[in-house]
């Protein structure tokens, strides 16, 4: 199992906090919506991921566990 960052695109309103707090895995498109690295969250960055998730005003970010 590995942890991946995921956004609910229906909830997302392009506040952009995620890209600011977690630029390692999140960038923004020209309209400010997040583009999320689909790879597993590197173990050293788990704390940053949790922080980005908790700071999303729309609660649109989450961690998804995937089996390989």
């Amino acid at each position: 199992m590995s942890d991946h960052l995921r956004v609910d695109p229906i909830l997302c309103d392009a506040h952009g906090h995620c890209a600011e707090l977690f630029p390692e895995l999140v960038s923004l498109d020209e309209w400010g919506y997040p583009i999320i690295d689909d790879g597993p969250i590197p173990p050293g960055l788990a704390k940053e991921a949790r922080r980005a998730i908790s700071m999303c005003p729309r609660l649109a970010l989450m961690i998804e566990q995937r089996s390989r």
């Binding site: 695109p9 909830l11 997302c12 498109d29 919506y33």
Partner: protein, 430 residues
């Protein structure tokens, strides 16, 4: 010999290319004469699913997911429900409507087989509002078999591109809007009424109705080893007789075109898979077999099994722009990247088609489309990417900038007439 094969008729009357669209009328009497009643599978659910697995049947709605895996997943849940998906949101496709209109009883058979396989007692038959002949045929068919009709409900669904996406369909059937929802939960986990829900395309179900009778071995007699069976294909554009035909998987594209009266003009490119699809260059590719394995190297897939033939002199960029503009108008309006991205791609393509002097719109559209590929989505703007990649070739751009002499007949569905009999002169050929 499996239990199911033993139950099959000695000589299945639906051989070769006439499995799904046989000759004869759509009546119950004719259907019974053709196939006899459905075999009973009481207490043999596992062997039924095993037979479907051996058949290698994959979903005919576009995604091509193995049917047996889906059956298994839903069968594991409590009080499951079956949704027969006859919404056919893909605007270039007409095969599901034609199937439901001309062979409604086989679709009903399939829904009943699916109910048996998953252990459910209720099926919903979801058909787009616009498909009136299909509604009429299914209503008549249900009236002809009252006992089965108690378990199958016919429901009209809004005529929108995204309405047939499985989470959108479940949302609509639950009283919500016909718009996709975030997953999980997937419908097989929690769908209609919170119950495990099998959403299966009507052509897939029709195949189930045949596999249940004649077995996996019979099913695999046509098609390829990896992609067995026949499929319904909608052929449009530059052919003499556009229409829906049934072909074996693996049939060369040239033969598919020939079955539709041949090319009406020299062919330039083929849009494989409908609005979801990918353009492939006709030069050197007409002998490609109609099968995902052969199309994959061209980054194409059968998708909704729609083939649009683009003749020379018709602008591929303009056609792609029209498709992108249509899709932009069909967005559910829920997700930013789709709401903003699709119109941007459409506009860029339109300005290229109109002969924009610089490459800026092309670069912008490509970047947007490339990004779309890295995102989860329900609509596939990513497919536009393959078209864009081709147009990046300066030779292609220079040559094809002229506006189309006449538009291809793959117009957005809302502009099309109400009855499919008149629509594009589409006819069924058997």
């Amino acid at each position: 010999m499996t239990a199911l094969a033993a139950a099959s008729l000695e000589s299945p009357p639906t051989r070769g290319l006439r499995r799904l669209l046989p000759s004869g009328d759509a009546s119950w009497a004719q259907h019974l004469e053709r196939h006899g009643p459905l075999p009973q599978f009481a207490g043999r659910r596992a062997s039924l699913i095993a037979e479907v697995e051996r058949s290698g049947l994959a979903g005919r709605g576009g995604a091509g997911f193995p049917t047996a895996v889906k059956l298994q997943a839903v069968a594991a849940g409590r009080a499951p429900i079956v949704v027969a998906n006859g919404t056919e949101g893909e605007p270039a496709s007409a095969k599901d409507r034609i199937l439901m209109t001309h062979n409604p009883h086989l679709v009903l058979d399939g829904a009943l087989v699916a109910l048996t396989a998953v252990g459910g007692d209720e099926a919903v038959l979801a058909v787009s509002r616009r498909a009136r002949p299909a509604h009429a045929a299914l209503t008549r068919a249900l009236a002809e078999r009252r006992a089965d009709a108690r378990r199958i409900r016919l429901v009209a669904v809004p005529d929108r591109f995204v309405a047939g996406e499985e989470t959108a369909l479940v949302s609509w059937l639950n009283g919500g809007e016909a718009k996709p929802t975030f997953t999980p939960p997937r419908p097989f986990e929690r769908g209609v009424g919170g119950r495990p829900t099998l959403v299966q395309n009507v052509e897939t179900l029709a195949n189930l109705g045949l596999i249940a009778r004649y077995g996996a071995g019979w099913f695999r007699e046509t098609g390829t080893e990896a992609e067995p069976g026949t499929v319904l294909v909608t052929v449009r554009g530059g052919v003499r007789r556009p229409g829906v035909i049934e072909v074996e998987l693996g049939t060369p594209l040239r033969q598919v075109v020939d079955r539709c009266g041949g090319l009406a003009a020299p062919v330039r490119a083929l849009l494989v898979g409908g609005y979801f699809g990918t353009w492939i260059d006709a030069a050197g590719n007409l002998d490609l077999p109609l099968a995902d394995a052969a199309l994959r190297p061209h980054r194409a897939a059968l998708g909704a099994r729609t083939l649009v033939v683009l003749p020379h002199g018709v602008c591929g960029v303009a056609e792609t722009a029209r498709v992108a503009r249509y899709l932009a108008g069909e967005s559910a309006g829920q997700c930013g990247p789709c709401v903003f991205g699709l119109p941007a791609v459409a506009q860029a393509l339109e300005s290229i088609a109109a002969g924009a002097p610089d490459a800026a719109p092309l670069a912008g559209a490509s970047a947007t489309a490339e990004r779309a590929d890295r995102r989860p989505r329900c609509l596939p703007p990513s497919r536009r990417r393959a078209a864009l990649r081709r147009q990046r070739d300066p030779r292609v751009r220079g040559r094809d900038r002229a506006p189309p002499r006449r538009p291809l007949p793959c117009r957005p569905r809302r502009a099309a007439p109400a009855h499919e009999s008149r629509e594009l002169g589409l006819e069924v050929r058997r």
